[in-house]
Symmetry: C2
């Protein structure tokens, strides 16, 4: 730990950055700079692998999935020892990711560490890009994970967003243990929207294993989704053209296309 | 126009990129590369100014606000003449921006131009970063512009999203001509949510004139917002701590913080 060792000395910075979807061409320079300045980089193994060429030679603390609270505590410990720690999440750390937990834990500890959150390209940004232009109009973003949220709350949101004709962006649609939630969500949407409503699905956007598919509420198969998948369901005006999913800007004909 | 001149020859590429919030540290490398390869760069004057150091010396076609359809047509014309055209929007071209219109117009023309959309840091990403961590849970993104969408549709969405306890992200909250919509939206939210619900407002994120303020549904003044502002209203669990607006990950106490 060199000259930065010891409580209270040195940097005392905890930066929270996102990798974006995976391809380094989607990592913003602000996040890259934090990584380059880091003394220690903390994160899931998968995310650290995505950025290995930037952090090569640096001290890293990697972990398996599902230990967020421990990881944040460990990152704060290291920063409190006077080091510049960078905590890495996927996508944008500000969207369903680590930023909130870092502020929460730092607040409870009354930590003096400087917290820096840096935005990133979230799954909703990269998946929209891959599908065409589904997010040209109002949309609701919903996670189907009922680990920390009661399913009744989630189902109420799906119902409300569907009835109010939002485009829907579904995070965490399906895992091995949570295998019925997406089917139920689609069932709710089918009861309100036309069977021809476009449904886009993206897995591993920008990565080698990227898969993009566009179907409809009628033909969509929930079993095709997993934890690496984001699903976008169109509103009543969304259409498919030339393999792209497009939501027009408005409902009126005030603008004339030619 | 050199060797690229003439219909059918040359590049025939139309790339659609976003500047992100403004600071070039938030422009993803994929977008920068498109700009560097461009023969012609098309966009609002304001956006072209943000990226002037990248496009210096290149041919540009700039325009004032509110001529989107003409601008897209012009960009396609230039690409059809065999040039690599880059159309620039603010934020992420895939969120309330130019991507959809480009696909729509290209489709209607049955254009042979290669369309490339590149994601960017949208206002929702950068404003969330500036405010703390308001988007850790489900959120609904709503534009208050009733230019192309009937107000009844917008109001129904505000009502539905508020009742279903989504965090709300408000785009286009207020302009000189649209001066009552945000007041009405806040009125709806006040009738459902606690007066202490946090409200974050960001204008010009990452730019010299950046303004960030956090208030509550009770104290928020709609007249402080304008077209450059994004407003984020918390859900029932969002709180303010140490000047940051934080939405916790869930409603249960399944994770123990320490």
């Amino acid at each position: 730990m060199g000259t930065h060792n010891g409580s209270g000395g040195g940097n005392q910075i905890l930066s929270v950055v996102g990798t974006g979807p995976g391809d380094l061409d989607y990592l913003i320079p602000a996040a890259r700079k934090e990584l380059e300045m880091a003394d220690v980089v903390v994160g899931y193994r998968t995310y650290l692998e995505l950025i290995h060429e930037i952090i090569d030679g640096k001290e890293t603390v990697s972990s398996a999935m599902m230990q967020e609270v421990d990881r944040v505590g460990q990152a704060l410990d290291l920063a409190e020892q006077g080091r510049h720690v960078v905590l890495v999440s996927g996508g944008d750390p500000g969207i369903y990711a680590m930023a909130g937990l870092v502020y929460e834990v730092a607040g409870l500890r009354a930590s003096k560490v400087e917290i820096r959150v840096v935005a990133g390209i979230a799954a909703l940004n990269s998946c929209a890009e891959r599908l065409g232009a589904p997010l040209m109009h109002d949309f609701a973003t919903i996670s189907l994970s009922d680990l920390l949220t009661p399913w009744e709350v989630i189902e109420k949101r799906i119902q409300a967003a569907t009835e109010a004709d939002f485009v829907l962006v579904i995070y965490n649609p399906r895992s091995k243990k949570r295998d019925w939630q997406l089917t139920r969500a689609i069932e709710i949407m089918r009861s309100v929207r036309a069977p021809t409503t476009p449904v886009g699905m993206v897995r591993g956007a920008t990565r080698e294993n990227e898969q993009v598919s566009i179907s409809t509420l009628e033909t969509f198969k929930p079993s095709d989704a997993d934890m690496q998948t984001t699903v976008i369901i169109g509103n009543s005006a969304t259409f498919i053209n030339d393999g792209k999913m497009i939501t027009p800007r408005g409902y009126s004909d005030k603008y004339q296309l030619s």
